[in-house]
């Protein structure tokens, strides 16, 4: 081969630069401290660090605010943000569709139906059963989508279509139940908009297991996932079994989504905006960015939650409103600059 022209350029550089991942981790840490520090009761950074390290830090009410309110809420926001952003990125790869979101296969409508059943039947103690029912609903809806589409992994679009059908069906049943139990309308509606106010250590303990397990699987296969962006024959030639890889990816992403939805309701937009932000800003599509997308998703949702409880303080906005309100314009900005830079 000849290298005559090589000196004319500057080389192709790295495809993925891990410094971006490190930067996202730092941003997440900074945002996390901001989130647990700010609120009606201000907590100092140093005091927070001392308390977390078991040294002489905050006491009394401040300690309770930190350990029982803000910390679990921040951690849940980070977990859910990471889960939704990563699942979104994975669905977009698996279905080769930049508009795919984590709720695509019926997970959202299934969870919604499960939550509605819990709310209409549980009487007083709604929150005990709600996560369980919405988790079951989400998982059942996705499994049904798989089942209906038959040879589900042979043709990704068939799975996508059956997900839409199952989702519509679950939404119809949910609407019917709501009409029969009109007193359930308000709690169902507020759940649908997403909320992290319910965060406590018990929810975190079970949801973190599922979310960390799913993320570990997804990040471990992330490099190979790039092969799914090509046709099945091409990925075969690069040594990948696309059907098997798709199955693992969809299962793990669905588990993460179902867990996120059942822990915090439906928080839209994170699964689409965050992957596109990371990919748009870095000009890279590779799934090597998956860990970065997880960190960015966590930071994005922690920040959104801080906004949700600060803007109308002491009242709270639904977090879904914030994610869309802030996410949508920023998203459009990135899309626009990206297009300009390429034209």
């Amino acid at each position: 081969m000849t290298s005559d022209n090589k000196n004319q350029g500057v080389g192709i550089g790295q495809i993925w630069n891990w410094q971006i991942t490190a930067a996202c981790a730092l941003i997440l840490i900074a945002v996390a401290f901001l989130a647990i520090s700010f609120g009606p009761i201000h907590l100092g950074f140093l005091d927070i660090i001392k308390t977390l390290l078991g040294m002489n830090g905050l006491e009394g009410q401040q300690r309770t605010v930190l350990l029982d309110l803000r910390l679990p809420r921040m951690i849940l926001a980070a977990l859910v943000g990471a889960a939704l952003a990563t699942s979104g990125a994975v669905y977009q790869t698996v279905f080769r569709n930049p508009l795919a979101d984590p709720y695509l296969l019926g997970a959202a409508s299934g969870a919604g139906l499960g939550a509605t059943i819990a709310i209409t039947n549980a009487g007083g103690n709604i929150y005990g059963w709600l996560p369980v029912f919405s988790f079951l609903g989400a998982t059942l809806a996705v499994l049904t989508s798989f089942f209906i589409s038959g040879k589900f992994f042979a043709e990704p679009n068939t799975l996508l279509l059956s997900g839409i059908a199952v989702g519509s069906f679950a939404t119809a049943v949910q609407t019917y139940l709501q009409q029969r139990h009109s007193n359930a309308l308000r709690p169902v509606y507020s759940w649908i908009l997403g909320e992290l106010t319910v965060a406590n250590w018990s929810i975190i303990s079970w949801s973190s297991i599922y979310i960390f397990a799913s993320l570990a699987v997804l990040i471990s296969i992330s490099k190979k996932l790039d092969g799914l962006l090509l046709s099945d024959e091409e990925s075969f030639s690069l040594g990948i079994n696309p059907n098997r890889l798709r199955m693992i990816a969809v299962a793990a992403a669905t588990l993460a989504t179902a867990t996120a939805v059942s822990a915090s309701g439906l928080i839209g937009f994170v699964g689409i905006v965050v992957p596109h932000l990371v990919r748009g800003l870095t000009h890279r599509v590779t799934n090597r960015s998956l860990a970065t997308i997880a960190l960015a998703g966590a930071a994005f949702l922690v920040l959104a939650d801080l906004g949700a409880r600060s803007i109308l303080s002491p009242a709270e906005l639904p977090i879904g409103v914030i994610t869309a309100f802030v996410g949508a314009p920023f998203f459009l900005f990135v899309l626009r600059t990206r297009r300009v830079s390429h034209s």
Binding site: P98, G227, E233, L238, R288, H342
Partner: protein, 254 residues
């Protein structure tokens, strides 16, 4: 004759339909073999068998071993209708080919300089940060070939590599494929344009309705009765003063 891939009694059925019917054929290493024949002759299926994505009966042996069923060979594939990932840069796309050699996501210095060489070779250097979806047809086809080159394959399969290109780009792409061959890679392609096939490939295999009618040196096959039979005698073969054959479709006489 040097070493070759030996195909024996190869049959592929999809349901009741026989797509490839009892094919026996020798494909020499380090040469360019071109499959020609009308649509539906089974050319693409034959490529997919070598890629290892189609079940078959019979045997395909390389150095006496059945290797294509289990992807034991480094086989690159350039499809007729590739999936083009949205937003992906040319450099990123070409680097996918390295995964076969170095493992997924590994970025060694050697890999990077290899990709640079490949980009230069395929005249894509300088546009490597452009989005792959924004390339023209000819550039896109070169990017596909660049990805296959990055894979350092032993065998490369190309399905109609020139079908969507104008003449100028056809030549440029075919020259790129020829470069592969000079590096000792075995090239197997399908091609509709038999004149171009005869210009570039050393060997031509004529296929018709799932069977191989004839396989051999390009110059012999071009003038054979089997080639005319495959196209129902609707082609004329002329020989230019330079000795180069030209194949044109014959107009139907009423």
């Amino acid at each position: 004759m040097s070493k070759s891939i030996k195909v024996k009694d190869l049959t592929v059925k999809i349901g009741e339909r026989t797509i490839l019917n009892d094919i026996t054929l020798d494909i020499p290493h380090g040469q360019w073999t071109c499959l020609v024949g009308p649509n539906g002759a089974g050319k693409t299926t034959f490529l997919k068998v070598l890629l290892g994505v189609r079940e078959y009966s019979g045997s395909i042996q390389d150095e006496g071993i059945e290797v294509f069923r289990n992807h034991k060979r480094n086989v690159a594939f350039v499809p007729q209708q590739p999936e083009i990932p949205t937003g992906m840069s040319v450099a990123e796309y070409v680097s996918l080919g390295r995964s076969k050699v170095e493992g997924w996501g590994v970025e060694s210095a050697r890999s990077r300089s290899f990709i640079e060489e490949v980009l230069i070779q395929t005249q894509l250097y300088g546009m490597h940060e452009r989005q792959i979806a924004q390339l023209s047809g000819g550039e896109m086809q070169r990017a596909l070939i660049a990805r296959a080159l990055a894979q350092e394959p032993e065998l490369i399969l190309l399905d109609e590599p020139t079908s969507a290109l104008d003449l100028h780009h056809q030549i440029s792409v075919l020259n790129n494929i020829e470069l592969l061959k000079t590096e000792g890679v075995t090239v197997i392609s399908t091609m509709h344009d038999i004149t171009l096939a005869a210009m570039y490939a050393e060997r031509i295999v004529v296929m018709h309705e799932g069977k191989v009618l004839l396989g051999g040196k390009a110059s012999d096959v071009i003038h054979s009765a089997e080639l005319r039979t495959a196209y129902d005698n609707r082609i004329n073969v002329f020989t230019l003063d330079s000795g180069r054959p030209v194949i044109v479709a014959r107009k139907e006489e009423n």
